[in-house]
C-alpha cells in the first residue's frame, strides 16, 4: 500500500505547508491593515542626518562582522588545536554565552568601560565579542566538514601558515559569509546596546520614534531604508547558507591535523584567545563578584516560576520551528513557502506583537489565546523560523537518496521512517537549528512584552526591567541564575546528543 502511504504523506505535507503559510501571512496582513487604518504621511525618509546615521550603522555592523570573524576564527583554531580535551566544555560555555542576551554582556562590560564616551568602540567591543559566539558555533561546524584531500594538495604547494588563511578560510566561505550576513542584519536592527552606550544609530532613531508614540505606519515608513539594506544582506545569506552543512561527518581539521603556524597566525590566535578569555572573565566573574550566596539563593527561590516559563516560552517554539523547517525542507518542494520562512527576520518584535494583537483581538477567543500564552508561542515560533532555517537548510539540501531508499526497505511507513531513520541521521543539524532558535528566543523581549500572558514573567524581561537600577546585586544575581540555568540545560542537551550519536552512526 505504498501509494496510500505516499498519498497520506502528501496530504499531511500540504496541510503543514498551509499552516506555515497562515502562520507567516497573518502578521503581514495585519501590518497592511494597520498601515491602511493609520494612513501614511509622506514626509521625507532620508535627509543628510539620517543618511549619516545609516552610514554609521552600516559601518558599525561591518566592523562587528570583521572583528568577530577575526576573533572567532583564530580562537577556534586555538580551542580545537591546543585545548582539544576541554573543547566540549569550552564550546558548551560558548553556547551559554550565546544564549544569554547581548544586553547582559553589555551590563558586564559597562562595569569595565563605564557608560560615557567612545560609544562606537564600546558598542563594537560588546557586539563583536557577543557575536563571536555565533561565529564560533557556525565555523566549528565548518571545521568538521572540510575535505581533507584539498588540504593535503594545498600543503604540497604552500606553507602551512598560508594554508590556514588562503585555503582553509576560503573553503569555509559559505560558513563565514552566512554568519557574517546574519550578524550584519542583527547588528543593523539592534538598538539596545547602542542606546546603553549612547551611540546614535538608525535603529535607535526608529526606536526613539516608537517610544515617543509615533504611529506604526510612519515607523514602518522610516524603517524602509534599513529594511532594504537588510534585504541585501538577506539575499547573501540565502545564497551562501545553502552550502553550509552541519553533519559533523568529517574529522575536525585542527584537532586531527598537524598544521604549523607562522608568526602572523600565532599572534592572531593569541590575541583572539585572549579576547575570548576576557569575555568569559568579564561576563561570568562580574556577576559572581557582585552577588553573594544569600542573595543568589533568595533570587533563585523567588524566580523559579519565571525560569520555568522562560524555558517553556523558548523551548516549545524552538521545537515547533525546527519541526516545521525540517518537514518542509526535507519533504516539500514549495519554493515560495521556503522564501516566506526567512522573511520574519525583517520584522521587528514590536511590530510583530502589535500585528498579532491587532488581528486576533477581533475574535472572542483572544482572551484564551493571550491567557494561555499561545500568541507568545506563535510569535516566538515566527521569530525563530529564519534562524532555524539557515542552520538546517544546507545540510538538508544535500539529501542522501541511498539512505532514504534503504530506509524504505527497512521501514515503509513514512512516519516511523521519519522517527527511526531521518531524525536520528540528521540529529546534529536538528539540534543545531533548535539550539540557535532557542538561544535567540531566550533573550527576545520586544514581542514578549506585548504578548506575555497576565500573571506570567520571563527572566529576560525581568532583568531588562531591573536595568533601571544599574548593576545592583539583584541584577547580578539574576545574571548568575540565567547563566547557570541555561548552561545546565545546554550541557545536558549536548551530553544527551553526544551520547546518542554512537547509536545513530
Amino acid at each position: 500500500m505504498l501509494w496510500l502511504d505516499k498519498f497520506r504523506k502528501q496530504i499531511i505535507f500540504k496541510i503543514v505547508t498551509a499552516v506555515v503559510l497562515i502562520i507567516i501571512l497573518i502578521p503581514f496582513f495585519s501590518i497592511i491593515d494597520l498601515i491602511l487604518k493609520e494612513g501614511i504621511t509622506y514626509n521625507e525618509i532620508l535627509n543628510i542626518r539620517r543618511i549619516r546615521l545609516l552610514t554609521k550603522s552600516a559601518a558599525l555592523s561591518l566592523s562587528v562582522v570583521l572583528v568577530s570573524l577575526f576573533i572567532s576564527f583564530n580562537a577556534l583554531i586555538y580551542i580545537t588545536k591546543k585545548l582539544r580535551k576541554y573543547s566540549f566544555f569550552i564550546i558548551s560555555a560558548v553556547f551559554t554565552l550565546f544564549i544569554i542576551s547581548p544586553y547582559i554582556h553589555a551590563l558586564s562590560w559597562i562595569r569595565v568601560f563605564g557608560i560615557g564616551g567612545f560609544g562606537f568602540f564600546k558598542t563594537l567591543a560588546v557586539l563583536s565579542t557577543y557575536y563571536s559566539t555565533i561565529n564560533i558555533l557556525i565555523l566549528s561546524a565548518g571545521f568538521h566538514n572540510i575535505d581533507m584531500s584539498y588540504i593535503d594538495s594545498a600543503r604540497i604547494y604552500k606553507r602551512d601558515g598560508s594554508v590556514v588563511y588562503h585555503i582553509i578560510f576560503k573553503m569555509l566561505k559559505p560558513y563565514w559569509i552566512s554568519s557574517s550576513a546574519l550578524i550584519f542584519i542583527l547588528v543593523m536592527s539592534d538598538f539596545s546596546i547602542p542606546s546603553l552606550f549612547q551611540l546614535k544609530t538608525y535603529s535607535l532613531e526608529i526606536f526613539t520614534y516608537y517610544t515617543s508614540g509615533t504611529s506604526f505606519s510612519e515607523i514602518i515608513y522610516i524603517s524602509l531604508p534599513l529594511i532594504l539594506i537588510n534585504l541585501a544582506a538577506l539575499s547573501i545569506l540565502i545564497k551562501y547558507s545553502k552550502k553550509m552543512e552541519f553533519k559533523k561527518r568529517g574529522m575536525n581539521l585542527f584537532s586531527n591535523y598537524n598544521l604549523e603556524y607562522n608568526t602572523f597566525n600565532k599572534v592572531a590566535v593569541f590575541i583572539s584567545s585572549l579576547i575570548i578569555a576576557a569575555m568569559f572573565l568579564v561576563v561570568f566573574l562580574n556577576f559572581l563578584d557582585s552577588s553573594n550566596f544569600k542573595l543568589l539563593y533568595e533570587t533563585f527561590n523567588s524566580n523559579t516560576e519565571e525560569m520555568m516559563y522562560s524555558l517553556k516560552a523558548a523551548f516549545i517554539p524552538s521545537v515547533f520551528s525546527t519541526m516545521i523547517v525540517f518537514l518542509l525542507e526535507k519533504h516539500s518542494n514549495e519554493k515560495l513557502t521556503k522564501i516566506f520562512i526567512i522573511i520574519p527576520i525583517l520584522i521587528s518584535g514590536s511590530l510583530l506583537g502589535i500585528s498579532l494583537i491587532n488581528f486576533f483581538s477581533r475574535f472572542n477567543i483572544y482572551k484564551s489565546l493571550i491567557g494561555s500564552g499561545t500568541l507568545l508561542y506563535y510569535a516566538n515560533t515566527f521569530k525563530a523560523l529564519p534562524f532555524v532555517y539557515f542552520v538546517l537548510k544546507g545540510t538538508l539540501e544535500t539529501k542522501d537518496e541511498n539512505l532514504l531508499k534503504s530506509g524504505m526497505i527497512y521501514e515503509r511507513n513514512w512516519v516511523r521512517r521519519l522517527i527511526k531513520i531521518e531524525i536520528p541521521y540528521y540529529i546534529f543539524p536538528i539540534f543545531a537549528g533548535f539550539y540557535v532558535g532557542f538561544g535567540y528566543l531566550t533573550g527576545e523581549i520586544a514581542s514578549s512584552i506585548l504578548l506575555i500572558p497576565p500573571g506570567e514573567q520571563l527572566l529576560s524581561l525581568k532583568i531588562y526591567s531591573y536595568l533601571h537600577y544599574g548593576s545592583s546585586g539583584k541584577i547580578s544575581a539574576l545574571g548568575v541564575i540565567i547563566i547557570l540555568f541555561f548552561s545546565t540545560i545546554t550541557i545536558c542537551l549536548a551530553l544527551i546528543i553526544n551520547r546518542k550519536r554512537r547509536y545513530f552512526r
Binding site: Q198, I354, H468, Y469
Partner: protein, 332 residues
C-alpha cells in the same frame, strides 16, 4: 498499538505543556493590572493588595527601556477586546494618550477627594497620586564649595559651559512631560531651543534618567536633571551625589504623578475599582515614599515644596506640533 499509544501520550504531553490555564471558571476574584511601574516596586504593592483584599492580581509589566510605550500600545491594540482591568502608570503622558484613544472608563474614587484638581481628570478617566519631582543631581566631588547648580536654566547657563552635564532625551518619559509643561510657559520655539542650547552648552543628551544618574554618580558627568526615584537610589547606594529640587526660589519644580485608570469594558470592573481605591489611599502613597519610588504625597496639603504650575491636559492637547518640532531638532 502500544507504540501508537506512546506517540499519542507524548503528543498529548507536549500539547498540555503548550497550553496554560485557559479555564474561564473563576473560583477566586481576579484582577489584571497593566503597570509601567518598576517591577520590584509594583510587586510589593500588588502583593500587599492581594493579602489585604484576597483578590488575585495578574500583573503585566513594562520594561524601563520602552518607557511605557509597550504597554500603552498593547492597551490601544486591545481596545476592542480588553484584557486588562486597570492601568497603573509611573507617569502621565501615556495616560493622557490612552484617555484620548478611549481606553479608559470614568471612575471617581472617594480616596481622590484630597488630590489637587490639576492632578486628576475632570471627568474621572484617570487619577494622579504620589509624585516624583524633577531634581538636579550633582557630583559632590566636583562642587566642593557646596555651591550647587539647582535651576533648569543652569544647563544653558554660560557659567557652567565647562562643566559636563546630562539630560535625558525629551522624546519620552518624564523629560517629555517636562518639555510639554515648559512649552506652556514658553512658546514652542523657546521650549525646543532650550534643549538645543543645552546640547550646545556641553550637555550630553542621554537615553534615560537612570543614565543621567549613573553618569553623575560615576563622575563621568558633573551634574544633570533627573527624577527623584533615580537620584535617591544613588544616594541610597552611597554615591557622592547631592540632590536638589529644581528652581525652589523661582518657578518651582515639576512634580510628575503616578496615574491610574479603569479600563473601558474590562472584565473585573468591581475589583478594578477596589484596586484604584487601594492605590489612592494615603497609606499606599506613604509606602511608596518609604520604598523611595516617590517622594511627594499628593494626598497631603502640608508640603514646603514649590510646585511648577501646570495643566497636564492642556499641555498634552497642544503637544502635537511641539513633538514634531523637537523630533526635527533633536532626534538622535
Amino acid at each position: 498499538m502500544k507504540r501508537i499509544m506512546i506517540y499519542i501520550f507524548v503528543i498529548l504531553l507536549f500539547l498540555s505543556a503548550c497550553s496554560g490555564d485557559i479555564s474561564d471558571e473563576k473560583e477566586n476574584k481576579e484582577l489584571v493590572v497593566y503597570t509601567s511601574v518598576d517591577q520590584h516596586i509594583a510587586e510589593e504593592i500588588l502583593n500587599d493588595f492581594e493579602n489585604e483584599t484576597g483578590i488575585k492580581v495578574l500583573p503585566v509589566y513594562d520594561i524601563e527601556a520602552s518607557k511605557t510605550t509597550g504597554l500603552a500600545n498593547r492597551l490601544i491594540s486591545e481596545k476592542d477586546n480588553p484584557q486588562g482591568d486597570v492601568f497603573w502608570s509611573s507617569e502621565i503622558i501615556m495616560t493622557l494618550k490612552l484617555r484620548e484613544e478611549g481606553v479608559f472608563q470614568p471612575y471617581v474614587s472617594e480616596e481622590s477627594a484630597n488630590i489637587p484638581k490639576s492632578y486628576k481628570d475632570k471627568d474621572g478617566y484617570w487619577t494622579g497620586f504620589g509624585g516624583r519631582a524633577r531634581v538636579m543631581i550633582v557630583n559632590k566631588n566636583i562642587f566642593k564649595d557646596g555651591q550647587y547648580p539647582s535651576s533648569v536654566y543652569d544647563l544653558t547657563n554660560e557659567k557652567y559651559k565647562d562643566y559636563k552635564k546630562a539630560l535625558a532625551y525629551p522624546m519620552f518619559g518624564t523629560t517629555l512631560t517636562h518639555l510639554f509643561v515648559m512649552s506652556q510657559n514658553w512658546s514652542i520655539d523657546e521650549a525646543v531651543q532650550y534643549f538645543v542650547d543645552a546640547e550646545n552648552n556641553n550637555t550630553l543628551i542621554v537615553d534615560g534618567n537612570s543614565v543621567v544618574r549613573d553618569l553623575v554618580a560615576s563622575g563621568e558627568v558633573d551634574f544633570g536633571i533627573t527624577d527623584t526615584d533615580d537620584a535617591f537610589a544613588a544616594v541610597k547606594d552611597g554615591k557622592p551625589v547631592e540632590v536638589l529640587y529644581l528652581d525652589q526660589d523661582s518657578i518651582g519644580t515639576l512634580v510628575i504623578p503616578n496615574t491610574v485608570g479603569l479600563i473601558n469594558e474590562c472584565t473585573n470592573t468591581e475589583e478594578g475599582k477596589v484596586f484604584i481605591d487601594y492605590i489612592l489611599k494615603k497609606e499606599t502613597e506613604d509606602k511608596l515614599i518609604e520604598m523611595g519610588f516617590i517622594d511627594i504625597s499628593l494626598n497631603n496639603d502640608e508640603t514646603d515644596l514649590k510646585f511648577l504650575e501646570c495643566d497636564f491636559q492642556e499641555a498634552y492637547d497642544n503637544s502635537e506640533e511641539l513633538l514634531e518640532e523637537i523630533q526635527n531638532a533633536l532626534v538622535r
